[in-house]
């Protein structure tokens, strides 16, 4: 008899093998809706419904400044694993430290926070022709976060006696940079959120680059302060705030600042007066919003 029951069980198992691999359920498409969408796509007629441009465009130029601080005590930065070219990369036993969370011990200032304007109606100056220098020394990018304007020449430089390569993720750029020389690069597209820059020869080397068409972008200094000047006044500009370690979506820094309409996507809005400096004062980033 037992065997009979065993048979039943086994047959049961055999007949209902349909579980498949343990993957999360991906939502399926809505067929009717899809047909409707396809209809609109194949119809050459350009249906209206595009979001119109920002209406108000004032005159004059203003400046935005502020200062980011970190509420809480940052943990001791970890030392990076340096296993190649140690004679250069850890000269005299010098350790390379993880620079993803740099807080000024004196005034809690948080460095390397990126602030950039998402869209502006006007731009004051054209991209400068003087090349920016993005240098690396002792197997470390000198700038942990590097902001540049699209079209502005960048001299990706190597001040080390050894060769590097610089690989800007999501761009066309992954070039050899010979010792003591530089390689010219002209950012050709906006990055949106900052993108990672690495050296494949020394995988611990890491930095971030952000390229903007209008060049309205700032990286907070060691004391956490930042300034964006020559912004178009008289219109509501939405700014995006980013930090490498932020736990928000794509590194966005969300703050509790209703007066600035600060969203969880790390965006706030300000309207500048002509020839005036708007100081946002101290923007305190809670420890909780900084991810691992």
């Amino acid at each position: 008899m037992k065997q009979v029951f065993a048979a039943t069980i086994v047959c049961g198992v055999l007949s209902c093998v349909g579980c498949g691999p343990t993957r999360v359920v991906a939502p399926g498409a809505d067929a009717e809706a899809a047909d409707r969408v396809r209809a609109t796509l194949v119809s050459a007629s350009t249906s209206s419904g595009t979001e119109q441009e920002a209406a108000a465009t004032g005159t004059g130029w203003g400046t935005l400044k502020g200062r980011f601080t970190f509420a809480g005590t940052p943990s001791q930065p970890k030392a990076l694993v340096v296993d190649k070219d140690t004679e250069v990369c850890s000269m005299g036993g010098m350790k390379l430290l993880d620079r993803s969370l740099l807080v000024d011990p004196s005034n809690k200032g948080l460095a390397n926070v990126v602030v950039f304007a998402r869209k502006t109606s006007r731009v004051k100056t054209a991209a400068a022709e003087t090349p920016l220098v993005f240098d690396q020394k002792n197997c470390e990018f000198l700038l942990p976060v590097f902001a540049a304007r699209v079209g502005q020449p960048v001299d990706v430089h190597n001040s080390d006696p050894i060769g590097h390569n610089t690989n800007i993720a999501g761009s066309s750029f992954n070039q050899l940079v010979p010792a003591g020389q530089g390689t010219a690069y002209k950012p050709d597209a906006e990055t949106g959120m900052p993108t990672m820059v690495t050296c494949n020869i020394h995988p611990w080397m890491k930095a971030y680059a952000v390229f903007r068409k209008d060049g309205y972008v700032a990286v907070s200094a060691a004391d956490g302060s930042f300034t964006i000047s020559d912004l178009p006044a008289g219109e509501t500009i939405e700014f995006q705030v980013w930090h490498e370690r932020s736990g928000g979506p794509n590194g966005a820094v969300g703050l509790e600042k209703p007066e600035l309409k600060w969203t969880p996507k790390g965006r706030f809005q300000v309207t500048l007066e002509p020839d005036a400096v708007k100081d946002l004062g101290t923007l305190e980033i809670p420890a909780a919003s900084i991810g691992s």
Partner: protein, 609 residues
């Protein structure tokens, strides 16, 4: 049928006796149940446990075969039932899944069905009964031999659910494919479990074979000389010897492969062998070594898988031909001859393996020679049927089909033995046809014959003859439809184990034929539902059978059906060989081994008047 099925007792005296039950001291019912049905040391219960387990795995193996056939007939098409598993892939099975399917089909059928059902189920059930012993020599070993199968069941069954799936290196699991975890999915945990399972089956068989040899040598009833043993017992005896001598080699080889995989010993893979950009193997091993060791066991093993069937068929043929076995001693000698030669022919599996071709010639000759005893046996079976009075019972039909099919399987073997021809048909469907004719059309049919024949002795009831014949008819048709066509597939050179052979121009046109074979295979498996239904129905509701429903001669038919603990309600004494049918000058057409000579005399006297 009715007269045959009707129980006629050979012993007027025995009927009055109640079925013997050794008085056991009362225990709690649970313990009672456990010791009687689960951890029983009674050879009959153990035999039945083997029978049920193996039949269950027979079903699983058959379903695996169906999945394999589906892929061969309609490659990459939506698989029924299994398709749900592959929803992510549009319902088509992945090639490694296919390799896993045929690997496990072969492994299950060989190691969990054929070997244990012959030696385990029928060996256990029949040996003591047919030699007149009240049980095996070592009941505890006997119990262990069954319970050592369970780890194997779990290893084989469980391996389907580990990462990468079950073993997928073919049932021969040739290294380096099988020793290198990188070589294929299923070569990880699955293959290890497979090897462990194999070892467990080996242990079980070993315990069994020791037991069988001892029992047959020491515990025969008074008067049961070696040359009065029924062929079944002779076959079991020699099978046991084969196992005892061949198995250690396989077990050792299996452990070598395990250490190759787990500890990086390099028995089987050459140095610096890189598979799938994995880590290079170390230690200069030799892949052919495994093939030698493996086939040194596995060739005798194919005789382990057929000899007992031959023995049982011999007994069934004589019973239903009502005629003595033709050439009893030649039959015994040929079994012994097969067993002896079986140890020096393993190389014929390796003609194309890169083994020294000169060695190939040696093995060709020995292989040709091993066809001889098989031929002798076949002629003797024909001789047995000749001049008989054939009763077409289901059991007899299966037995006859065994002879008929074994002829095909035997003859097709000669093609493979001829080395030059083997160059072309090696690893094609010709060999697949060959071993399916021997193992399915041969052994499996023999097993069915034996089940229909001894079912009354196992459960005290006879199986339904009509449905039995339907079962035989359909199985017989479908199996030939499936397997005979494989010969001509092989003649085209259609290789085995290919997930999709139709992108080769040479084989492109063979798809319809394969589709036909798959239909037959589906029919064949579906037919077994009839058998299963008949089996379980008759177990409970079949007509009650007496001690000797088939008017057969051998000792088990003098015991009650089913025999109680201790088998015989009187000590059987043997006066003659097992095949005294249609002895002239007697009204009864069978003369049991236990019939005392005086009964014979009186019968003769009665005849005189």
């Amino acid at each position: 049928m009715s007269t045959v099925a009707a129980s006629t007792l050979s012993h007027g005296t025995a009927t009055s006796l109640p079925p013997a039950r050794k008085s056991r001291r009362r225990r709690r019912p649970v313990a009672e149940f456990l010791s009687t049905y689960v951890f029983s040391k009674d050879h009959k219960v153990i035999g039945l446990q083997f029978l049920f387990s193996t039949l269950l795995w027979f079903l699983i193996g058959g379903l695996l075969a169906l999945a394999v056939r589906w892929q061969i007939a309609w490659p990459w098409s939506d698989v029924p039932v299994l398709g749900k598993l592959f929803a992510q892939q549009g319902g088509q099975m992945a090639p490694e899944f296919y390799t896993m399917l045929f690997t496990m089909h072969a492994s299950v059928m060989i190691f969990l069905v054929i070997i244990p059902i012959l030696a385990g189920a029928f060996g256990n059930f029949l040996i003591p009964l047919m030699i007149g012993a009240d049980d095996m020599a070592f009941p505890t070993l006997n119990m262990l031999s069954y319970w050592f199968m369970w780890p194997a069941f779990f290893f084989f069954g469980g391996s389907f659910f580990v990462e990468g799936g079950a073993a997928s290196g073919g049932w021969t699991s040739y290294p380096p494919l099988s020793t290198n975890m990188n070589s294929s999915p299923g070569m990880g945990m699955g293959q290890t479990l497979w090897l462990l399972g194999l070892t467990m089956v080996g242990v079980s068989s070993m315990l069994g074979s020791v037991n069988y040899m001892t029992t047959i040598i020491l515990m025969r009833a008074p008067g049961m000389t070696m040359f009065r043993l029924p062929m079944t017992i002779w076959a079991m005896f020699i099978t046991a010897i084969l196992q005892a001598f061949a198995l250690p080699v396989l077990t050792a080889a299996g452990f070598m492969q395990i250490t190759d995989r787990m500890l990086g010993t390099g028995f089987f893979s050459p140095e610096g062998n890189v598979v799938n950009n994995g880590i290079a193997s170390t230690g200069g091993g030799q892949p052919l070594l495994w093939q030698h060791l493996f086939w040194f066991y596995s060739h005798p093993a194919v005789y382990i898988m057929i000899l007992p069937a031959m023995g049982m068929v011999s007994d069934i043929l004589t019973t239903f031909a009502r005629k003595p076995l033709f050439g009893y001693r030649p039959m015994v000698y040929s079994i012994a001859g097969i067993a002896g030669l079986g140890f020096i022919v393993w190389g014929h599996h390796m003609f194309m393996s890169g083994m020294n071709p000169a060695l190939g010639i040696t093995f060709m000759v020995s292989t040709m020679m091993i066809a001889l005893p098989s031929a002798v046996k076949t002629f003797n079976w024909l001789g047995t049927v000749w001049g008989g009075r054939i009763q077409f019972t289901t059991s007899m039909l299966f037995a006859l089909s065994f002879v008929s099919m074994f002829i095909i399987g035997g003859l097709s073997g000669i093609f493979m033995a001829a080395t030059p021809v083997d160059i072309f048909i090696h690893d094609t469907y010709f060999i697949v046809a060959h071993f399916h004719y021997v193992l399915f059309a041969g052994t499996a049919m023999g097993v069915w014959a034996a089940i229909y024949f001894w079912f009354p002795k196992m459960f005290g009831r006879t199986m339904n003859e009509f449905w039995g014949k339907v079962h035989f008819f359909l199985t017989f048709i479908f199996l030939n439809g499936t397997f005979f066509t494989m010969h001509i597939l092989g003649a085209v050179g259609f290789p085995r184990r290919l997930a999709d052979a139709y992108h080769y121009e040479t084989f492109h046109h063979l798809q319809p034929l394969n589709a036909f074979m798959t239909y037959c295979a589906i029919g064949m498996v579906a037919t077994q539902v009839i058998f299963a239904a008949n089996f379980f129905w008759s177990m409970f509701f079949g007509p009650i059978a007496g001690r000797n429903p088939w008017n057969s001669n051998t000792l088990e038919w003098t015991a009650p059906s089913p025999p109680g603990h201790g088998n015989f309600d009187f000590q059987p004494v043997v006066y003659r060989g097992p095949y005294e049918y249609s002895v002239p000058g007697m009204e009864k057409d069978h003369l049991m081994q236990t019939d005392p000579p005086n009964a014979l005399a009186s019968a003769a006297a009665a005849h005189a008047h």
